[in-house]
């Protein structure tokens, strides 16, 4: 089951440049929340702060409070611990090229010390079914490398890899921006089903996508959260002029 995320006064920097200013928002459990905004507005930085991936960039740091379920992300838990409970899917599909499809999905479990062969088989199958890739790869699970799949399949493989460890939250950083419309459609459909089991935060460049998959939408501009509301409301009657300008395509 998914858990809710509470972000309070989150600030982030790259060296001396501030990338996020006092972000405060509450992400509801078992729903999809979209983060939209023009390039460079801090939306990727925001999701990367949720699982502390932001600080893996040299000289980058973040401050503020983030609670994911009962976990206090920036106080009292280690980054490794947090990342084991939060799955992440990146902009560019990044399967491990030296591993088979099976090993790609099992990678996170093996890091967690799972060795039971039967259990692994089960979880790999379930994860690949969840990510709607099973039928396409079940005959070549151990023979083919993760990198031999098409771009859309690779991204679904990465989703399966993230889901295999049964995270409570799934972060998706523009998961469809490198994909064709058909693969994009498959992944959106997937998001729709996955939110029954996980809390999903999806960064997207594509406003229609946000509208299609998310119940809540946050609009970022220049590192600030301008507006956060029900998707319906953001796209029909936004309360901020800047949101309206962006939604209607006046800039961005």
């Amino acid at each position: 089951m998914g858990v809710s995320i509470e972000v309070d006064k989150l600030n982030a920097w790259f060296g001396k440049t501030q990338a996020l200013y006092d972000i405060t928002m509450k992400v509801a459990a078992n729903h999809a929340t979209a983060i939209i905004g023009p390039s460079g507005c801090g939306k990727s930085t925001f999701v990367r702060c949720l699982n502390r991936m932001h600080e893996t960039v040299p000289e980058a740091r973040a401050a503020g409070s983030v609670h994911i379920g009962e976990l206090n992300v920036y106080n009292g838990s280690s980054a490794v611990q947090i990342r084991r409970r939060i799955g992440m899917v990146f902009q560019k599909p990044n399967p491990f090229p030296t591993m088979s499809i099976y090993d790609n999905v099992a990678a996170g479990l093996k890091l967690n010390g799972y060795n039971n062969r039967k259990k692994l088989d089960e979880i790999v199958e379930r994860s690949l079914k969840l990510s709607a890739l099973w039928d396409e790869v079940k005959d070549t699970l151990r023979k083919k490398s993760g990198a031999s799949l098409s771009g859309g399949q690779q991204q679904r493989l990465c989703i399966a890899r993230a889901l295999a460890v049964e995270p409570e939250v799934l972060l998706m950083d523009e998961p469809c921006s490198a994909l064709d419309p058909i693969s994009t459609g498959k992944i959106e459909e997937l998001i729709y089903q996955l939110k029954e089991r996980f809390t999903i935060v999806i960064v997207t460049h594509n406003m229609q996508q946000a509208y299609r998959v998310a119940e809540f939408t946050g609009f970022f501009l220049l590192g600030k959260l301008i507006e956060f509301d029900k998707t319906e409301k953001i796209f029909t009657t936004p309360s901020d002029k800047r949101t309206e300008d962006y939604i209607t395509g006046r800039f961005g």
């Binding site: 893996t56 490794v80 990342r83 084991r84 799955g87 491990f96 030296t98 967690n112 990198a147």
Partner: protein
């Protein structure tokens, strides 16, 4: 610049085409390209010719000893210039054992150096460290040899060999008198010379592993070590193997430093404390004293043996790389 009227667009384009000077047809001449092609072909053929000539020389100049000993030359242990009895086996053995010993010591060290430089060292220390490692590769081998005689050999004699004999003597690899000079010293000095090669290549391929791969592992909740192992070393392994092969090549052919510390005795002993001899060393040491035709011819045949051993080991290494990287796409073999 004011844009043309929509109606006039095609006309403008048309007139441009007509007035454009025929640049391509006047400047292009196939001759330059042909000369380039032939010149590059000549360069490529040079390499083949060079190898061909080397083989030809080695084979013809060693015919005397070949006729006397035949195939047995490579498996005989006798090396007696006075009675003109020659066999290359102790040299082949010495070369292979000292090189492998060097790799056993050097490879973990070199990979450790590369991992520290690329993944863990603070930014200000990174380039001085990388520079110093590469500097090690530029030191002439005779300097390494001298250093080994005055510093390394006494150290090995006084501390390392007694220690090894006490704790690992039961393996049989570390027994007999501790001279300092011998196979162990040769292996260690070769290892020091091989480390910079292996580690700088490892560093290059590790840096080439894309950041997305590291992030993929980190996001799964990997510790730093797990990230380096799964996200970096695993992706870089083909390149690292390449670096090890280059290092092995250096160790097999190294002459001066090894000659100065290996003891130069054509014997085969199980103990690494015992002196030995390598193919490169025997050629360098005895070439000027080889007075008889058969002696000279035997030395050339040792050279031929070195050539063959190098080729065989390189082929084995290629097979190894191929088995390790089989099934992975070219993208991983950065």
């Amino acid at each position: 610049m004011p844009g043309p009227q929509p109606g006039a667009k095609s006309e403008v384009a048309l007139s441009l085409e007509v007035n454009a000077p025929p640049l391509r047809s006047s400047r292009y001449s196939p001759l330059g390209d042909q000369i380039f092609t032939w010149a590059m072909l000549a360069c490529g053929l040079c390499v083949l010719a060079l190898v061909g000539l080397i083989i030809y020389e080695l084979v013809t100049k060693s015919s005397n000893s070949w006729h006397a000993f035949g195939m047995n030359f490579f498996f005989r242990s006798e090396w007696d210039p006075v009675n003109e009895q020659f066999g290359a086996f102790p040299f082949v053995y010495g070369t292979i054992v000292s090189s492998l010993l060097a790799l056993v010591i050097a490879v973990p060290l070199a990979i450790g150096v590369a991992v520290f430089i690329t993944e863990m060292s603070p930014g200000w220390l990174r380039s001085p460290l990388a520079f110093t490692t590469e500097l090690l590769a530029a030191i002439p081998s005779v300097i390494y040899g001298l250093w080994a005689i005055f510093v390394l050999v006494p150290l090995i004699r006084e501390y390392v060999e007694p220690f090894l004999a006490r704790h690992f003597g039961w393996t049989g690899l570390f027994e007999g008198p501790a001279y300092g000079i011998g196979m162990l010293a040769a292996g260690v000095i070769l290892a020091i010379m091989v480390v910079p090669i292996v580690s700088s290549i490892t560093r290059e391929v590790m840096t080439a592993v894309p950041r997305q791969q590291r992030e993929a592992v980190l996001a799964l909740g990997a510790t730093r070590w797990e990230m380096i192992r799964t996200g970096v070393l695993r992706n870089a392994r083909a390149g690292i193997m390449g670096g090890i092969i280059l290092g092995l090549g250096r160790a097999l052919g190294e002459t001066m430093a090894v000659t100065m510390v290996i003891g130069n005795r054509p014997e085969i002993a199980k103990s690494l404390f015992a002196p030995g001899y390598t193919m490169a060393s025997v050629i360098a040491n005895e070439f000027s004293e080889a007075t008889s035709d058969r002696y000279l011819s035997a030395l050339v045949e040792v050279g031929l043996a070195l050539f063959i051993v190098t080729i065989i080991i390189n082929m084995l290494a290629q097979v190894l790389v191929w088995t390790v990287t089989r099934g992975t796409p070219a993208r991983a073999n950065v």
